[in-house]
């Protein structure tokens, strides 16, 4: 039972354009969502997160949108740069106000390629 799904295994965009990565979840108890970026042979790197009390969080070129009614979140990267080429994972957890995230449930990942 895949509780977090990234249905697009890959995405290719032109440099300077917007990249939109999507993620769906099934467990309505999740209240905290994160996006990670992973380069080959490295561990995932935290990008941005959002609490379920918000519907948008922005950090520089990265914005995460959360639609709780649809159980859907997306990561927007604007403008996309070649260095953004990597695998992007969304993750979800039930944080319940704790300072720690608790165990993360990850999607399968989307490979983003940004072409110069």
């Amino acid at each position: 039972d895949q509780q977090v799904k990234q249905n697009s295994p890959s995405l290719s965009v032109q440099e300077g354009r917007i990249s939109i990565l999507n993620c769906d979840y099934t467990n309505s108890m999740f209240d905290y969502f994160l996006w990670y970026k992973k380069y080959p042979a490295e561990g995932p790197t935290f990008l941005i997160s959002i609490s379920s009390i918000k519907d948008k969080n922005e950090d520089g070129r990265f914005t995460v949108f959360l639609n709780k009614s649809a159980k859907h979140l997306s990561l927007h990267i604007v403008p996309s740069q070649p260095g953004d080429s990597a695998v992007y994972f969304c993750a979800a957890t039930r944080k319940e106000g704790s300072s720690n995230t608790g165990k993360l449930i990850f999607g399968q990942g989307t490979t983003l390629q940004v072409k110069p």
Binding site: Y32, E42, K95, S99, G102, G107
Partner: protein, 111 residues
């Protein structure tokens, strides 16, 4: 500053042998997690340590897998009688304020 470190970076072992994977979390981080990533898959939660509480072992795939965290710092993941399906990248993460910081992983290959 020191991040999460893991050793060894690569481990090749024969089927049936035991292996130990080590994780050194970021100093002061109270929570420590183990995940694994099989080829073409997302990250799969294995086990979670939070301070002195009993660990959450709900993700361990079989009783061949165990982990301990000594002194609230270093953690060791042990896989007994390894099988070929145990081949994966094993990732450790630590967390203090709502962001999990990952180590580079240990690539385990069981031949």
């Amino acid at each position: 500053g020191a991040g999460v470190s893991q050793s060894p970076s690569n481990k090749v072992t024969e089927k049936g042998k035991d292996v130990e994977l080590r994780c050194d979390p970021i100093s002061g981080h109270t929570a420590l997690y183990w995940y694994r990533q099989s080829l073409g898959q997302g990250l799969e939660f294995l086990i979670y340590f939070q301070g002195n509480s009993a660990p959450d072992k709900s993700g361990l795939p079989s009783d061949r897998f165990s982990a301990e965290r000594t002194g609230g710092s270093v953690s060791t993941l042990t896989i007994q009688r390894t099988q070929q399906e145990d081949s994966a990248v094993y990732l450790c993460a630590s967390d203090l304020i709502g962001e999990q910081y990952f180590g580079p992983g240990t690539r385990l290959t069981v031949t």
